[in-house]
Each structure stands twice: as C-alpha cells, then as structure tokens.
C-alpha cells in the first residue's frame, strides 16, 4: 500500500465522518421544515436547537478537513474538480453558509416572524447543501471530471449518477437525523415527540433503502467503472449496508432508539465505503488514479503527521463533546 493510498484513506475517513456527523445535522433541517406551524412545531424545533447546537460547528470542520487533505495531497485533481464542478460546489457552499448563519440567527431572534424567516432558510438550505455535495460525488464516481479540469459545467453533474448521488445524500442525512433526533427526544423524556419522530423516521428509513438500492440500477448503466467495483470488492459492503439498515429500522420500530443509532451509522457508513472501495484505485474515475494524482511524498508524510495529531488531539476532545451531548450527561 502506497503513501498516497494511506492519505486517500485518511481523507475518505473524513468523508465518512462528515456524512455521518455533518449529515445528521443537515438532515435535522427536514424535520424542522416539516414540523408544522409555530405552535405545533415548537418542540421539534427546540429539540433540533438542542441536538445540533453544540455540535454542528465541530461536525462541519470535517468538510474543511476533506478539502484541505484533498488540495494538499492531490492538488491537481482538486483544481480539476473545482473548475469542472463550479456550479454544484458553489450551490452547496451557498447552502452551507445559509444553513450555518440562519441557524445561529434563528436561535437568538427576537420575534416569531424573524425566527420563521431564518428557520425556513435554515431548514431549506440544510437540504440543498447535501444534495449538491452528492452530485459532486456522483460526477467524480461516474468519470465526468477530466484530469486536466474545466470539464463540461452542466452535464458533469446533471446526469443519472449525480442525481442518484444527490438524492442519496439527502435521504441518508434525513434518515440519520431522524434516528438521532428520536433518540434525543426519548432521552429527554418527551415520549410523545419521540413517537411522532419515530413514525417519520421509519418512513424515511424505508425510502432511503429504496433510493440506495434502486439507485444502483441507473448507476450500473451510467457509471460502468464504479459498477464493476460495486459488483466486486465493494459487494460485501452493500450487504452490510442492507443488514444494518434493516436492523436500524427494526430497532426504531421496536423503540430501541439509543441502540438504533449504531446500525444506522453503520448502514450509511457502509454505503459510502462501498462507493470508495468501488472506485478504488481511481481518484477521478477513469481519469487518474490515487497514486498518479498524489502530490510530493514529503507533503503526504506531513499530512499523515496531521492525521496522527488529529487522532491524539481532536478525537478525545470530540469524544468528550459527543459524550456530553449524546448521553444522559447533559439531558438533565
């Protein structure tokens, strides 16, 4: 295994963690958006505030981590992607900016009408961001980003694989958020809220499974290289995703919310890892491999030092934050 592969794996670990942690934050927007009017939706919206308030900025940093690893470790492919996928990246960025800003503004807004405006922006942009990030993934996975950059600015991300990627990103985010929010509601003792969230999470969970597995059909026709990988090395991961997804939905159905968070994360993580393994060894599918795209060895070594430092410095701190927010510790 080369140095470049190790760095690529470290970067992809960031993708998985961003999808799980950041994804759950984005998905909360769906429940916020569909919570109903100010009176009926107050409890869900307050729950969303409490659930993602302390963690969203930390979870968001995984995106920065991915970008930095990408442009430092594989600089030319980063430029290739940004010049080709300018539009979806800019739209995802708009979603990220609007989400973060309006989430903070809403929490401290003085009147209900202001809160309504910021809330609508927050919730809507929460779904825009993952959709366009998903189309970016689809563009890379279907070999539409030329190594020299400046690929087609529209068809690179308006294609079957990208659209599947976008829908998949949104549904997995919403599913994860549903599981996490239901568990949070149950932990704070709000059984009524947990039951209403449970119902929606079950619906979303089944829909997510349908999107993931029916999405395979267009992907197989549209992205042959990825399809070969998915049928080969990545196949076991799809099985894991299926089993874990069914387990998560079943556990939510049986009201074992706290435990359901784990198979839900495993299911989404497996889908993503399936994508990564499926397109290995390509960095930009059909264009350039991880090894050929890699920057200088000295820099790759430097990046691994950063990753090691992250494991020592960031992971304990992050675990502390998640322990505080995801257990009984702060639920009193």
């Amino acid at each position: 295994m080369t140095l470049a592969t190790v760095v690529a794996m470290a970067m992809f670990l960031g993708v998985i963690l961003y999808a799980l942690l950041g994804g759950a934050d984005f998905g909360s927007g769906f429940y916020d958006l569909t919570a109903g009017n100010a009176r009926n939706g107050a409890r869900i919206r307050t729950l969303v505030d409490h659930s993602i308030g302390p963690v969203w900025e930390a979870n968001h940093v995984w995106l920065i981590y991915i970008l930095v690893m990408w442009w430092t470790g594989f600089p030319a492919t980063f430029a290739a992607a940004t010049t080709t996928l300018f539009i979806p990246l800019a739209l995802a960025l708009a979603g990220i900016v609007l989400r973060g800003a309006s989430f903070a503004f809403r929490k401290y807004s003085a009147t209900l009408s202001q809160a309504r405006l910021y809330g609508a922006i927050f919730a809507g942009s929460s779904l825009i961001a993952p959709f366009f990030l998903g189309t970016v993934a689809g563009a890379i996975a279907s070999g539409r980003v030329p190594a020299e950059g400046y690929g087609d600015r529209l068809s690179s991300w308006l294609n079957p694989t990208s659209l599947v990627g976008g829908c998949l990103a949104v549904t997995t985010c919403v599913f994860l958020a549903g599981v996490f929010l239901t568990a949070d509601a149950a932990r704070t003792g709000d059984t009524e809220l947990a039951i209403s969230l449970r119902r929606r999470t079950l619906g979303v969970g089944i829909l997510t499974g349908v999107v993931v597995f029916s999405g395979l059909y267009p992907v197989i026709h549209d992205a042959p290289t990825l399809a070969t990988g998915l049928r080969g090395h990545a196949f076991p991961l799809l099985i894991v995703a299926l089993v874990a997804g069914v387990a998560a939905v079943t556990l939510v159905f049986r009201r074992r919310y706290a435990i359901a968070r784990f198979p839900a994360a495993v299911a989404v993580g497996s889908v993503l890892t399936g994508w990564g393994v499926g397109q290995y060894p390509w960095l930009l599918v059909d264009e350039i491999t991880i090894n050929d795209a890699a920057g200088a060895d000295a820099t790759l070594t430097g990046l691994l030092i950063v990753v090691a430092l992250a494991a020592v410095v960031v992971l304990p701190a992050l675990s502390y934050l998640l322990w505080l927010t995801q257990t009984e510790e702060w639920s009193r």
Binding site: A42, R43, R45, T46, P54, V55, E57, A58, H60, V61, Y65, L67, V68, M69, W71, G73, P75, A76, F78, A79, A81, T82, T83, F86, L89, L93, A94, V97, L98, R99, G100, A101, S102, F103, A104, F105, Y108, S109, A110, L112, Q114, A115, G119, G295, A296, A298, T299, L300, L303, V306, A310, V314, A317, L318, Y320, L321, L324, T325, E329, W330
Partner: protein
C-alpha cells in the same frame, strides 16, 4: 485614482475572464471573514479574563458579562465558520492555477489550521452549552484550548500568506514544481513577524470593538460597574496590542526593502530611488507625477530603512508590467499606519491619565472617540490587507506565479461575485439585527434570551 487603477487593470488585456471577478470576490470574502476571524482569535481570551474574575472573585457582574459575550460569540463564530468555509472553497473555485500547481507546497499549514479549527469548534460547543451543566471551573477551562487554537490557527493561515510573499520549500525545473519541502514552506522567513502582526491586530479589533460598545452605553448614561468592567477589560487587551503594534509593524516594514522592493516603492509612492528618501504623506501618482502629497524630508529613510540616509528604492528600477496598483497600495498602507498610530495614542492617553489619577471613562469626548476606535481598528486591518495583497500584484506568489495564471479561466464568475455580495450584505444585516435585538432584550432584563418558538414560558402563559 481608483479609476486609473481599474482602467490599468482592464487595459492589461489578454487576461482570463475570471481574473477581475475572482480578485474582487476574494477581496470581499476575505475582508469580511477577517473581522470575524479576529473575534475567533481574540474573544475567547478576553472572555476568559472576565469569566475567571466572575468565578474567583465571586463577581456576579463579571460572570454576567461572560454569559453575554458567550452568546455574542455564538452568533459571530457561526458566521465566522461559514465565511471561512467560503474561503476554503474559493481557493479552488477562484484560484485553481495556484492550488493545482502548488497545493502540495502550501497546503500543510492549512491542514494544521484545520486541526486548530477543530479544537476551537469542539470547545466552543462545550463552552456555549456548558453553562450551568458543568462544574464552573471545568467550564472555564474550556476557553483555554479555544485561545490556544486561535494562536495556532492564526499562525497557520498567515503562514500561507507569508509563503506567497516569501516563497520557499520548492524549486522549479523545466516548469515543474520539484524538491517540495512543505515544512520549509510553512516556516518561511516571513511567517513569524506576519503572524505576530495579525495576532496583535486581532486583539486591537476585538478589544476596541467590545469596549466601544460599553463606551456607547456610558455615553447614554448607563454608568455602572457592568459598563465600566465591560469597557476596561477589552480595552486593556487592546491597549497592550495597540502599543506593541507600531513596533511590530516597523520591524515587518523594514524587511520589505529586501523582500519586495516594488511593494515598498508603492507604499512610499517613490518613483525614483532617493537617498535620503522623504516620506510622502497622502498624495497620489497621476501620469508619472506625485500630486497632493505632504513631503517630509528624510523621514522615509528613517521609517522604511531605520537609517538617516539609506535609499528607498523607486519604481524606476521595476519593469512597468510588474508595478502593483500604486495608489491603492500607497493610500491603504498609509491609512493603516495613520490609524494604528492614532489608536496607540488613544490607548496611551487613557492609561497615562489613569496613572495621573484621572478616569477618562467619565469624559464624554474620550468615550466618543472610544466608540469609533473599533470601526477604526477594523479599517486598519482592512487597509493592511489591501496594502499587502494589492502591493504584491501582479504576483500571487511573489515572482513565481502571476495572478493571471492563478485565476480561474471560467467565464461567469461575475455571477458568483454578485451572489457573494448579496449574501454577505444579507449576513451583515442579519448579524447586526440579531446582535442589537439581543442587547435590547438584555437591557430590558431578559438574561436567557429564549427562542421565540421555544416552549411557552410560565410567565407568558395565560
């Protein structure tokens, strides 16, 4: 002079369609983010002092300030985090020629910056939501990693900018970037002073902005312990920074003679190399002639070279195609220096008066000045960035990569620039409205600021 420079830029011709909008967009988004970045860097340390005072001295007023400042930082850090993300995206969207070619040279400090941003975001989350949920002392400790992360983060980001001024850690053979040593790039010769300059500037911006808010309150007759403390603590931080800054700036400025003579010539509005060189205060260069400048003999040599008669290089020795936009660079540089000097004077005045037994917090004119020192400090930071960035043109990486070659070749970048303008105006309005409404509700006695859609509170229930 704006028009001349714009026309010059336009007249250069043969440039990618993305160049001008990419420059403008980067300038707006960086200029906007830097103010919030200052808060991210300096605010945790300032909050630490009042929070610690609140706990150690059992001072309810200090603790109340810490609680409020924490809520303010929740808003500011959120928009700071997202506007920082904009910059990350823009590195690729606007400057693919820089990132694609030099990403593995300059990227490592960004990776370390990512680590420090992680630490800051994690402990911010714990700190903001930890009020009344953790032991007070442990809660206070959560600010320490945030302050440290601010230092490391500033160093790392500035390291990349310093590298653009002092390229290191690679060589170019046959057009290929080779012999890459990212550590040499990160610890380039310019990084320490530039870091110090910005880190200290952050304390000036935050210290003076926050103390200005309380100076405004005192002008309105709200003279109490709350306002006096809210003024004094951040003002003390800003004072140390403002007095240190001219010295740091001077040492930094002296290096420019050796590293970027064209930038120094533009700073000094020097057409010919003179020895001793005068200082030209204000003024612009029109058709090869300096107009409306106040010329002080010898002072240019003293300031730029720390000598009575050392020459200051002029633009004559530099090919016309490598001149930066001279007037913008000159005026921005002198605005920064003038404001910095003024701010150092204001802070010195306060402490001198206090030493002689006068409390200037009771002087309405002094308070009025204090209200505008925050915006002035912001103007100085913006001017400084304009001076150093515009002064480096036409290079993105000094004498290695021209900005034309760094910029995106894409058409249509004007649309993203317009979107950024609209979005940032919206965010500015939103932030100002929210912060003002928070202050209004605090004055009305509402300490906790519950969300308007939150659970119905007992006192408002029918």
């Amino acid at each position: 002079m704006w028009m001349t420079d714009t026309l010059l830029v336009l007249a250069e011709g043969q440039q990618p369609p993305g160049l001008l909008p990419a420059r403008q967009q980067m300038a707006v988004s960086l200029g906007w983010h830097i103010v919030l970045a200052c808060f991210g860097v300096a605010f945790p340390t300032i909050i630490f002092v009042v929070h610690r005072r609140g706990i150690v001295r059992d001072d309810a007023v200090a603790l109340g300030l810490a609680r409020r400042w924490a809520k303010v930082s929740a808003v500011l850090f959120a928009i700071g985090a997202v506007s920082g993300t904009v910059l990350s995206f823009e590195m690729g969207l606007l400057w693919p020629g820089l990132m694609g070619r030099f990403g593995d040279v300059l990227g490592l400090p960004f990776a370390f910056e990512g680590l420090s941003f992680f630490v800051e975001a994690i402990f911010l989350g714990i700190y903001l939501y930890g009020w009344d949920r953790m032991s007070p002392r442990r809660h206070l400790m959560m600010l320490i990693p945030m302050g440290l992360a601010g230092i490391v983060g500033t160093f790392c980001v500035i390291s990349v900018n310093a590298w653009m001024n002092h390229p290191a850690g690679f060589s170019i053979r046959n057009g290929e970037v080779v012999d890459i040593n990212p550590w040499a790039a990160m610890f380039n010769e310019g990084v320490w002073l530039q870091f110090l300059h910005m880190w200290v500037a952050a304390f000036m911006v935050v210290g003076l902005s926050v103390s200005g808010v309380y100076a405004f309150g005192m002008l309105r007759g709200r003279i109490d312990h709350h306002h006096k403390l809210g003024f004094t603590v951040p003002f003390a931080f800003a004072s140390v920074a403002a007095v240190a800054q001219p010295f740091i700036g001077h040492v930094l400025g002296m290096r420019i003679h050796d590293t970027q003579p064209a930038k120094l010539a533009a700073f000094e509005l020097a057409q010919t190399t003179e020895s001793p060189a005068p200082l030209r205060l204000g003024g612009v260069l029109i058709d090869g002639e300096v107009r409306w400048a106040l010329t002080i003999p010898r002072l240019g040599s003293i300031i730029a070279r720390n000598s009575w008669d050392a020459p200051v290089p002029g633009l004559e020795g530099i090919p016309r195609s490598e001149w930066p936009p001279v007037n913008i660079t000159h005026l921005a540089f002198q605005s920064m220096v003038a404001i910095g000097t003024l701010l150092a004077g204001v802070t010195l005045l306060y402490w001198l008066a206090r030493w002689r037994g006068h409390d200037l917090r009771g002087n309405r004119w002094f308070l009025r000045v204090c209200v505008i020192t925050g915006p002035l400090a912001v103007a100085a930071v913006e001017s400084g960035w304009i001076a150093t960035e515009v002064g480096r043109q036409p290079w993105t990486v000094w004498q290695v990569l021209r900005t034309v070659d760094a910029a995106s070749q894409s058409s249509g970048l004007w649309w993203s620039y317009i979107a950024i303008l609209v979005g940032y105006v919206g965010m500015t309005v939103g932030a100002v409205l929210v912060l003002r409404s928070m202050a209004r509700r605090w004055r009305a006695g509402d300490a906790e600021l519950p969300s308007p859609y939150g659970p119905i509170r007992s006192e408002t229930a029918p």
